[in-house]
């Protein structure tokens, strides 16, 4: 790997430790389409920058200063140091110690996070992907691509710190947005849309055919969807829906930050049903939060957060680990804003959060068997925006498309109304984690989660 952003800055630093430098050199390429027409081509959008973190231990805690810059010149680095030092003076954080990660043997090849085709021929690969994405619509009369974009970021990440750590790895992330529209019949219902927003590490044009077919069916079903019923109903949540609900709450409250704010659950406390075991795993191949090391250079690993419903471990970044005289668990991430990932990660200071939450598969079988177990309820395919509140744990949103479950079988599509509840409640109180009635046996990867479908009995559904 040729990138050395953080190493160059580190070499030029004339400052006492502890310090850390997170550097990134990125190229970004984008294709935007409107219907089947290419609307805009962008790239390369070139960006190289770094974030400097300074830690100043003093009585009762530490001063902490982060500053980001794109100026890698000598005078530019001096200015950045001055900024960070000035922030340290005013900052106070109750860290008993600051233990930065030390030299690591982790290499870039340890975790699969780089699409080599995309890296070598970005625009050609994006063009081929867009072609493969639009091709399945040829010949379809009732469904068409409405609009979309693919935006690839190719980044060379480097991290250095005052303990001598120097680590780096290349990675690719692609934001895929596609809206699929079902239409037809002058007197029929209005058009129906299925809107996909996904982040992936690699592009697999060959797998697009079945996916597009599925999206088209959801768009058709939106057109004929009935009103959602009202009541406390069994609801089946697939991993694509869970990915919008669980990571924001668990990734906030099962952390050192949660512990310091007294919002984290206590170790050993019962917060989920007996069958529920949840891991945090930063090394799942091709998962977007995966990488050899976290954003402070600590190797990513696998930790059990919830064991048979009981809280087992919490997640820490360097700073919040220091508040408890612990070491980081490799859970520092940069650039997560309102639950979304900003590709310009160096602009942000690190914060403790989950990587990929892994829910251990249960023994309750396939999706079909979960539906049978639900009896009379709803399969939730897509929510408007669950956006849980990490503090209270409340979540909920509008049902964009779901399916009624009647007599243990999928029935008519439903749309509208809301579904909601609380992800995690005080021990003994109802919540999503406590009310899981069945855990499927077939996990799938969605951003931030690798999980089977869960049957929750019940959730509150407010139909129209």
């Amino acid at each position: 790997m040729s990138a050395d952003t953080a190493f160059r800055v580190a070499e030029a630093l004339r400052v006492d430790g502890p310090w850390e430098v997170f550097g990134e050199r990125s190229r970004r390429y984008e294709i935007h389409f409107n219907g089947r027409s290419i609307e805009m081509v962008r790239g390369p959008i070139s960006l190289e920058g770094y974030s400097l973190g300074l830690f100043r231990q003093r009585d009762g805690g530490a001063g902490v200063g982060f500053q980001a810059s794109t100026d890698l010149s000598g005078p530019g680095i001096v200015e950045t140091v001055a900024d960070a030092e000035s922030l340290c003076r005013y900052s106070s954080f109750p860290a008993k110690s600051i233990s930065l990660p030390e030299t690591t043997s982790t290499s870039a090849e340890d975790v699969e996070v780089l699409d080599p085709h995309l890296w070598d021929r970005p625009m050609e690969t994006l063009q081929a992907y867009v072609h493969a994405l639009l091709e399945p619509f040829d010949g379809l009369k009732d469904v068409l691509p409405s609009f979309g974009s693919v935006r690839a970021t190719l980044a060379e990440t480097t991290i250095a710190n005052s303990t001598g750590l120097q680590v780096g790895y290349p990675q690719s992330v692609v934001e895929v947005e596609v809206a699929v529209k079902a239409v037809g019949g002058p007197e029929g219902p209005g058009p129906g849309e299925y809107w996909v927003n996904d982040n992936v590490r690699r592009l697999e044009p060959s797998s697009l055919g079945p996916k597009v077919e599925e999206w088209c069916q959801y768009a058709r079903d939106v057109r004929k969807a009935a009103a959602t019923p009202t009541g406390n109903l069994p609801v089946v949540l697939p991993s694509s829906v869970l990915s919008g609900i669980l990571p924001p709450v668990i990734g906030s409250r099962f952390t050192g930050r949660g512990r310091l704010r007294e919002t984290a659950p206590a170790i050993g406390e019962k917060r989920g049903c007996d069958a529920l075991t949840i891991w945090d795993d930063g090394r799942i191949p091709w998962a977007v939060p995966s990488s050899p090391v976290d954003d402070e250079g600590t190797p990513h690993g696998r930790r059990k957060l919830l064991s048979q419903g009981q809280v087992s471990e919490l997640m820490y970044d360097v700073l919040y680990a220091g508040a408890f005289d612990l070491r980081s668990t490799g859970n520092a991430a940069r650039g997560i804003v309102f639950g979304f990932r900003d590709w310009r990660r160096f602009l942000y200071s690190p914060a403790g959060t989950s990587t990929t939450l892994v829910i251990e598969p249960g023994t309750d079988g396939t999706d079909t068997e979960l539906i049978e177990a639900a009896g009379d309820g709803i399969w939730l395919q897509q929510l408007g925006w669950a956006i849980p509140d990490p503090l209270s744990g409340a979540f909920g949103g509008e049902i964009r498309i779901g399916y009624r479950i009647r007599h243990g079988k999928l029935a008519e599509p439903v749309r509208g109304g809301t579904v909601g509840g609380v992800v995690m409640a005080a021990p003994g109180n109802p919540s999503l984690l406590a009310n899981i009635g069945a855990i499927g046996s077939m996990p799938s990867l969605s951003e931030g989660i690798f999980a089977p479908a869960l049957l929750v009995k019940p959730l509150t559904v407010a139909g129209s």
């Binding site: 935007h32 805009m40 609009f147 529209k181 919002t263 503090l391 509150t460």
Partner: protein
């Protein structure tokens, strides 16, 4: 950081280079300075705006836009961006005519507020934050309180080959207080925040009275029940009215959704969509709004654009292309999140104009229903016309009077049904515009204002 206009010669040279290859090219340069503090019971975290600035070059070629951006403003970096665009133009070849009218605005807006935030020291910001935290934590049940104060001075400098040359300095300030109540494992909070263009005078709302009131409200939520569920009369507070105006209605009026044939509103332009008491506007020229712009990122002046005028849907928001497609003038709504992001049609300050009712009259008129307070989020559904608003708390309305406090909830329904169900809008004295960040899909966040007064209508409510 220096004034971006110091690099004007390089910008002009780059545009001149592209001239022979294109019918039109433009350049936007951007630089921002700013400072902030966040504090809670255990820590104080000051921050500085990253040292990031740059420029994006855009040109029309082959029937589409091509762009390249750079995060350095020296002649060599600007030259490389121009190289990339030039190569793309040569590859694209000739194509259809450039759509729309090129801006020719030549003006500078450089005025600082009377009491600029850049003159407020970090110590003063921390002191104000500590006061707010102390007021909040003095309320029984409040265990912690997060306070944030942040300001930014953003320069945007726009040039194009049609002769436009405009520069604006936008000074934004925002502050918020979030008292957190914790009891027996249950966590609740409430929040107040304000933000706008302006200076130090915008922090006047951080008074002991206001902070104490919101802290008491957070404490009460610990013992509040869940909201009622189902379709009912809803009274939206100004923050929820604004979120409705922006998310539910405004996104459907962004005319790129018209050209994509992705707006449920497009076929009903010119129709009555609500009672005559309802007027909804987008106003980039609103004095000191959080989303105010003197000119947009195509050089068109910010302006007041009526969307619904006394119940009739009369207009949409346009960039040069959508304006050309609709045979109207651009409305000053073409915005980039920053120089690294593409242009989209975006809102500025979107609000429901005040009506004639008093708040008490609306509560009496509601008879039975729910008051929704403190909007937290919303999401658009431009094609389907469904709505989702989420709010932190509410109060039941029983027999025309406010009764029990209830916890967070989501509001759903069809936007057009909601508009038709509006029975009253309260008067000017309740009017406010709240600061927020809007994404186009899941990316490209930028500052927008949304607002209104109290609004009485009917919708589906459920927990969230």
């Amino acid at each position: 950081m220096t004034d971006v206009r110091e690099h004007e010669a390089e910008f002009v040279r780059a545009l001149a280079r592209l001239g022979p290859h294109t019918q039109f090219a433009d350049l936007l340069a951007e630089s921002t300075i700013g400072r902030g503090i966040r504090l809670d019971r255990r820590s104080v975290s000051p921050s500085l705006e990253p040292r990031l600035r740059g420029a994006v070059l855009r040109a029309w070629g082959g029937g589409r836009w091509v762009e390249a951006a750079t995060s350095a403003l020296d002649a060599a970096s600007i030259g490389r961006a121009a190289d990339a665009v030039e190569q793309a133009l040569v590859k694209a070849g000739a194509g259809p005519e450039l759509p729309g009218v090129s801006a020719t605005t030549r003006q500078e807006w450089t005025e600082l507020p009377a009491r600029p935030m850049r003159d407020m020291t970090t110590e003063e910001m921390i002191s104000l934050g500590q006061d707010a935290k102390a007021w909040a934590t003095a309320v029984p049940g409040i265990r912690d309180c997060q306070v944030g104060i942040v300001w930014s001075d953003e320069e945007r400098f726009y040039l194009n080959t049609a002769g436009a040359r405009c520069y604006q300095l936008l000074c934004r300030v925002r502050a918020g207080v979030t008292p957190i109540a914790i009891e027996n494992g249950r966590v609740e909070f409430d929040a107040i925040s304000e933000g706008s263009l302006g200076g130090r005078e915008r922090l006047r709302f951080l008074t002991q009275e206001n902070v104490t009131e919101v802290a008491r409200s957070a404490s009460k939520l610990l013992h509040a029940g869940g909201p009622p569920t189902g379709e009912m009369t809803v009274l939206l507070d100004p923050s929820n009215t604004g979120t409705f105006a922006h998310e539910s209605f405004g996104h459907g009026t962004e005319a790129d959704q018209f050209t994509r044939d992705r707006s449920y509103l497009k076929p009903i332009l010119g129709s009555m969509v609500g009672p005559e008491t309802v007027t909804i506007v987008d106003n980039g020229a609103y004095s000191e709004g959080w989303g105010t712009v003197h000119f947009d990122d195509e050089g068109h002046p910010g302006q007041r654009t009526p969307l619904v005028d006394h119940g009739r849907f009369v207009g949409a928001l346009h960039d040069r292309e959508t304006a050309a497609a609709s045979h109207v003038a651009a409305t000053g709504n073409s915005r980039r999140s920053d120089f690294l992001s593409r242009l989209f049609v975006r809102m500025t300050n979107t609000y429901v104009e005040p009506g004639n009712w008093t708040f008490d009259e609306l509560v009496r008129e509601a008879k039975q229903g729910i008051l929704l307070e403190r909007a937290t989020s919303g999401i658009e559904d431009p094609l389907g016309g469904q709505m989702q608003l989420k709010t932190k708390k509410g109060r039941k309305i029983e027999h025309g009077e406010l009764t029990d406090v209830v916890t967070s909830m989501a509001l759903s329904g069809k936007v057009l049904d909601f508009l038709k169900s509006i029975r009253g809008v309260s008067h000017q004295s309740d009017f406010r515009i709240d600061p927020g960040y809007c994404g186009k899909g899941q990316t490209d966040l930028l500052p927008v204002g949304s607002g209104g007064t109290y609004l009485l209508a009917k919708a589906v409510v459920g927990p969230a």
